[in-house]
């Protein structure tokens, strides 16, 4: 449990960095899914895929000079 809570802090930090630097923090996701929750895993991946499609290609990915 504490691992999850620490990871949530890491994600919060990363999102804050992205927001400060004007990068898209919506592209950083956190979900807690246990090994037995196969359906939740599938649904989450689907949701993230859809969101990512809507957001369009990652603006960083098109650069060769990052």
């Amino acid at each position: 449990m504490s691992g999850n809570l620490k990871a949530r802090r890491r994600v919060a930090i990363l999102k804050t960095i992205f927001d400060t630097l004007g990068l898209e923090s919506e592209r950083v996701h956190l979900e807690w899914i246990s090994a037995s929750e196969g359906k939740k895993f599938a649904d989450t991946v689907k949701k993230i895929t859809e969101e990512t499609k809507q957001q369009g290609p990652n603006p960083l990915a098109k650069h060769w000079s990052i």
């Binding site: 809570l5 949530r8 802090r9 890491r10 919060a12 930090i13 804050t16 807690w32 000079s65």
Partner: protein, 373 residues
């Protein structure tokens, strides 16, 4: 709680402080003193560990330069083994805050250290300091102007917008705020501090506490306004993909910024580890994806990775920016990012020994907006 407030004429400050440190050594109240010494060439003032009282002659306690963060020095000297005998250390507020962070991160040990910290109006980069020395600059006069609120574009950029002029968590403060321009003060906050000042005469600093609180408040508010203006200007300049790539275009991946950072204590940085060694095919694949690949790879990733790892403990000391060969505003960016990441946890790097560093701590009831659950 120990509390001693005395004041002295400013013109005697160097001699008095040196004399006091000398007495501490001679009477064996401390066995060593860490204080900036003017190097024999006269071109730089560097921290030095003095054990022979006679060597205090060459010191320059108030030289407005930080060649290396004293926090890094304390960590080097105490990480493997705490000091066995008392040692006095002279620090600026950001060095003290970094020392507090390193102590919490188990990279420094405060046992037997007598922490003496000064009000700080800012420092110059080594380069600027050296040229000011060559020009024969009057540093007390410069300091006087800075404390009077005058701006000095030569000051390191983070110092220009630094709201942490006053040290906390020390045994003794060498004070400027709250006095007229012709005096300096000494305040003992702990019993250890008070004992070390036992031999120091001085005029009682009447009503010091009130006068100082008012002066500090005014100074801090002015600097916060300056800092916010810097943040706004910086955000405009660096944020967004295009601006970030422009900002870090001059980065040569030398990792100087990390090497000199007092908070970056890892023996081997993740970015220098085997994780970032790749077989030739990988480079070809990456390049094929876009037809080109900047080399060395992962310039921006290094900076974001470093922010992710340590911005919650960044004390905005500016060392990284001084070390950058290509004048990238690294420290200003880290300060702005660190301000936001620390605020997220209601944390201020170096504020207190009792608050755990954000990455070592967690709560069930927080950050619900982030997801999970």
């Amino acid at each position: 709680m120990a509390n001693k407030w005395i004041k002295h004429p400013l013109e005697n400050r160097d001699a008095l402080i040196k004399g006091w440190l000398k007495t501490l050594l001679e009477k064996e109240i401390v066995k060593g003193v860490v204080v900036p010494s003017l190097l024999p060439s006269g071109a730089n003032a560097a921290q030095s560990l003095i054990t022979d009282p006679a060597m205090l002659e060459n010191t320059d306690p108030f030289a407005p330069v930080m060649a290396v963060s004293t926090a890094k020095i304390i960590s080097k000297m105490t990480r493997l083994k705490p000091m066995e005998k008392p040692v006095a250390v002279l620090l600026r507020p950001c060095e003290l805050r970094a020392t507090i962070e390193l102590t919490k991160l188990k990279q420094a040990n405060l046992d037997n250290l007598l922490l003496i910290a000064m009000d700080c109006a800012g420092t110059f980069s080594v380069k600027t300091y050296t040229s000011l020395v060559q020009e024969g600059a009057n540093f007390v006069e410069i300091e006087r102007k800075l404390f009077a609120g005058e701006e000095d574009p030569l000051l390191r950029p983070v110092c220009q917008g630094c709201e942490w002029s006053v040290p906390d968590n020390c045994d003794i403060t060498i004070a400027w705020h709250g006095l007229d321009e012709s005096s300096f003060g000494l305040i003992a906050h702990t019993e250890k501090g008070e004992a070390s000042l036992a031999e120091m005469e001085g005029e009682a600093w009447e009503n010091g506490e009130e006068a100082r609180a008012a002066a500090v408040e005014k100074w801090t508010n002015d600097k916060i306004a300056k800092r916010d203006a810097q943040f706004a200007e910086l955000k405009e300049r660096v944020s967004g993909v295009e601006n970030l790539l422009k900002t870090y275009a001059a980065c040569i991946n030398c990792h100087n910024c990390m090497t000199v950072c007092p908070i970056c204590f890892c023996k081997e940085c993740f970015f220098d580890s085997a994780v970032f060694e790749f077989e030739s095919d990988r480079f070809m694949d990456w390049s094929s994806a876009r037809g080109n690949l900047r080399l060395p790879t992962d310039t921006l990733l290094f900076h974001i990775g470093r922010m992710n790892h340590m911005s919650t403990s960044c004390v905005a000391c500016g060392m990284c920016q001084d070390a950058c060969p290509n004048d990238i505003p690294v420290a200003q960016i880290f300060k702005m990012v660190g301000f936001n990441t620390q605020q997220r946890f209601d944390y201020v790097a170096g504020r207190s020994l009792d608050e755990p560093v954000p990455l070592a701590d967690f709560r069930e009831d927080e950050l619900h907006e982030i997801g999970g659950e």
